[in-house]
């Protein structure tokens, strides 16, 4: 038998009850749309997170003060001394560069304009380690560190806030916490990062920050140490070496590390596991909404079978076998659900694109991704839902007794 015949017939009969068919598939439409939109946004968010993670630098290890859990009391702070010890090529051969950093809020002003931002005290290693590139002017060098020079490098947005432009401002003098600092460079635009825009930055020599802007106790304390491993394969070796050196420096017992390490890979893993949980969550919502949609289809198919009892009786009188009737109703219910699924895919796609546009307009560049696998899965799944929930009504139709069905009013 021609495969298209039942399909055409089913379309005709669904078309005859447009409003009812439309309302019936609404459940499937909403379910599939929600899944597609969430998956698109989730995948897009994951891509953005991974992108910004890899933008931080290459083969990075973050060293923080404090142990993995709260049981370590009085953790010793990380210091410039720790950073120097980590830079020792002989005890730490896997480490390429070490960049300690001191961070704190500070007010920065020029003329009448003022802004408060996170000020970073950095060393010359900071620039290669974190992929920061100075577009105009020069980087902070050893001499600035030794001299505790009053120089600052600004991010693009900071320069725009203060000067209304970010070109030709090198050589100007700004005030940080009231003290004059000479602008020696402007960073290249970086865009959004994990913790807000990285273009809103002000970098000063770490020695200057320690002495005059962000005083800490002890004086050579730093907040985070960025360590760059020499190679992607050496990240775990580098972590071993960092642990050994810091245990020695801090004189801590084994198992009582008062510092913690996190590599970029660890961050990617964390991000992925969050996305994974999100995916399971979305899957749950999808399953429930498809279940509800499927029950709606079953319900309306049962109504349809009752309504068309005479038609079924007639078809049987003309020689339709059980299988013919079964096929007819199964095709109808799967088609109903499949159309719902396809509309849902388009709708979900649209929602994803709109959210992406809104997010980009409001400053977070973000591209929703609708994967082929998501589309295929949604299509197959919605068809399967229709098939499954059509079995009961179709069976009922197929098992009608022709004599009684023909007599039905």
């Amino acid at each position: 038998m021609n495969i298209w015949q039942p399909v055409i017939e089913a379309l005709e009969s669904l078309n005859a009850n447009k409003v009812r068919s439309g309302l019936t598939i609404l459940g499937i439409v909403i379910g599939v749309a929600a899944v597609i939109a969430m998956l698109a946004l989730g995948t897009g968010a994951q891509d953005t997170i991974l992108g910004s993670l890899s933008g931080i630098g290459t083969n990075l290890i973050f060293v923080f003060r404090g142990g993995e859990d709260d049981s370590i009391r009085n953790p010793e702070p990380l210091t410039m001394g720790d950073a120097e010890a980590l830079s020792d090529i002989f005890s730490a051969p896997s480490i390429e560069a070490v960049a300690p950093i001191l961070q704190g809020n500070a007010e920065i002003s020029y003329g009448g304009e003022a802004t408060t931002l996170t000020l970073s005290g950095v060393t010359p290693e900071f620039f290669p380690v974190r992929n920061y590139v100075v577009g105009e002017g020069s980087e902070i060098d050893e001499e600035h560190i030794l001299a505790r020079a009053s120089v600052v490098i600004l991010g693009v947005d900071t320069a725009d806030t203060l000067f209304g432009r970010h070109e030709g401002v090198v050589g100007e003098t700004v005030r940080i916490e009231g003290q004059p600092f000479r602008v020696i460079g402007i960073l290249e635009k970086r865009g959004g990062g994990m913790m807000g825009s990285e273009d809103e930055a002000a970098l000063v020599p770490i020695s200057t920050a320690q002495a005059r802007l962000l005083r800490r106790n002890p004086a050579d304390k730093v907040d985070v140490i960025f360590v760059q491993a020499a190679d992607a394969d050496l990240v775990s070796d580098a972590k071993e070496e960092i642990s050994e050196i810091l245990r020695r420096e801090h004189r801590t017992a084994v198992g009582e590390d008062d510092f913690s390490l996190m590599s970029q890979d660890d961050m990617v893993d964390t991000a992925s596991s969050i996305t994974g949980i999100l995916t399971i969550f979305i899957g749950g919502i999808a399953a429930i909404s498809l279940l509800v949609g499927g029950i709606g289809i079953m319900n309306i198919m049962l109504v349809s079978v009752t309504e068309r009892t005479r038609e079924i009786g007639l078809r049987k009188a003309l020689g339709a076998r059980k299988r013919d009737i079964l096929t007819q109703f199964l095709v109808e219910s799967s088609l109903l659900s499949l159309v719902g699924g396809l509309i849902g895919i388009l709708l979900g796609w649209g929602i994803g694109v709109i959210v992406g546009i809104v997010a980009t307009k409001s400053g977070t560049p973000f591209e929703p991704v609708v994967g082929l696998n998501a589309v295929l899965l949604a299509t197959l799944f919605s068809a399967a839902v229709g098939l499954f929930f059509g079995i009961y009504p179709a069976n009922r139709a197929a098992n009608l007794v022709p004599v009684e069905a023909l007599r039905y009013e």
């Binding site: 020689g319 339709a320 076998r321 059980k322 299988r323």
Partner: protein
Amino acid sequence: MDTPVIIARDLTKVYKMGEMEVHALRGVSLEIRRGEVVAIMGASGSGKSTLMNTLGCLDLPTSGEYILDGEVVADLDDDQLADIRNRKVGFVFQSFNLLPRSTALSNVELPLRYSHTKSGRKEKARLALESVGLGDRINHRPTELSGGQQQRVAIARALVNNPSIVMADEPTGNLDSKVGQEIMDLLLNLNKESGTTLIIITHDSKIAAQTERVIRLHDGRVLEEVA
């Protein structure tokens, strides 16, 4: 002489309505020759419809023997019955029973689809419609046709698979007498031309008078046969 197309011996049919047993047929025996035009008459409750359902293979008798065109109809399952209906029986109903959303052509095509006829379905359906005088209406839907025209479509549908018998259940019941007579003329004409056996269930004696033989049923039994 030809073997009769219908041989029924001692057919009984018992329905169970709750606790009660209803004897719709109490031993009906009859033979109908090939090409014969027969009317079955009887008051309502006489077992007329049950007999039609049994002879049309819509239902199996409780006991008795029924041979339709050489095939023994007994202990068949639903699908085998469907097959026999498809190949050997054409039905014409009082209320036409056309699919409202399908064209005349696809309505007539329906039995061919269930008999898995692959080639020339459209052509056969068109010829059947032409034979009932509706060659110019093949793409009309039932709602666009008059009652008489709808019944013609139903007759074309009954004939399209070249059945051994055509069972017409009050074929003129929903039509006014003029159109009803036209339908009767058409049925009788088709019988004359192609020799199709015609069984008409009716309570209209004017219709019955036009047949070759009337079988009267009363209380589940054949009362008399009028030649």
